[in-house]
């Protein structure tokens, strides 16, 4: 067990954990932030996506020992981000969610996409969202919502 100082959603946190523990489980169990989800544990689904140092990151495969002082942003705070807020609003106005379990990850990925590419093409959307799994298969509405958000931001 080791102590780790983390910056999560602009707040300083300190946790004591086995260094090999994935960031996902530190967030969920030590910090009680359950918005970031466990779907597979092998980075195949994206439900665990957070922003780490501004990079969309699959927290289920990043051991806490490799996080360092890179700031972490999770779904719980993404509405504080102007792009994040627009994306969430688009998700609601387009009625994207069904079971919703994958959507934290979908939104975190979509925000990363729109921050880098405010006017993504269909191919850009497909490429960037290509690794986020949705078993309810809300993909058609995810595409629509990203386009809606892009329009709002543009």
């Amino acid at each position: 067990m080791q102590t780790f100082k983390l910056i999560v959603n602009d707040e300083q946190k300190e946790v004591s954990a086995d260094p090999r523990t994935p960031l996902l489980w530190v967030l969920r169990e030590d910090l009680k932030m359950t918005g970031t989800k466990y779907g597979c544990g092998i980075a195949s689904c994206g439900a665990c996506t957070v922003h780490l140092g501004g990079v969309p990151t699959r927290s289920c495969v990043v051991p806490i020992s490799l996080v360092g002082n890179r700031p972490i942003m999770t779904i719980e705070a993404i509405s504080n981000d102007p792009v994040g807020r627009v994306v969430q609003d688009a998700w609601v106005s387009e009625d994207v969610v069904q079971c919703g379990y994958c959507q934290s990850g979908q939104i975190m990925s979509a925000v990363a996409l729109l921050k880098a590419m405010p006017k993504p093409s269909d191919n850009d959307i497909e490429d960037s969202m290509g690794g986020n799994l949705c078993r309810c298969a809300t993909y058609v509405r995810i595409r629509q919502a990203i386009k809606t958000a892009a329009r709002q931001l543009g």
Binding site: R20, V61, K115, A116, D127
Partner: protein, 205 residues
Amino acid sequence: MKRPGLTVFPAVLLLAVASVKTASLEQGSTPARAAPRSTSLGLAAWQEIYSVMSHPRCVNCHTASDYPQQGDERHRHLFNVVRGPEGKGVPALQCATCHQSANADSTGVPGAPGWHLAPLSINWQDANENILPSSAVCKTVSDPRKNGGMDGAALVRHHQTELVKWAWKPGFRNDGTARSVPPINYEQFMAATRTWVQAGMPCPE
């Protein structure tokens, strides 16, 4: 053509050596004032280098496609990962989305600083994912127009980056098994690199 940084043989002589075809060597002729020992040493060194470059730990990121490969069986990287314009993935699915600056053995994801794909110009595979033969790979690696502007010294430095060194400490999969490493050790690889560069980067036919 000047090759700055080389001190062992005059540039002109190196040029002559580099362009000697193996056929004429086999015929037994010895170019005037050529150093057949350095050419053959260089070619032998190249074969060692090639044995590393064609190993999955290296060739999986030197693809000719818009995706990386994974595993010793070199299957297409799972989960719809793509190359992206700079070989670093796409905005929401970057290499860095999963790959950190060190191996994550507890979760089975390899990592090294600057994890990304080699540019398409320095691919070592054909369109069907077959590894290109030694001569083709050599020509690409030794050509600054293809290899990202690297001369011999730069190539030596490239082989000293953490990303390349990673091939010998590639970490563990999440089932606990170790990834395989290239057939020669890192020190041998560096020695071969230096020998080959010093020999003028000769390529087999």
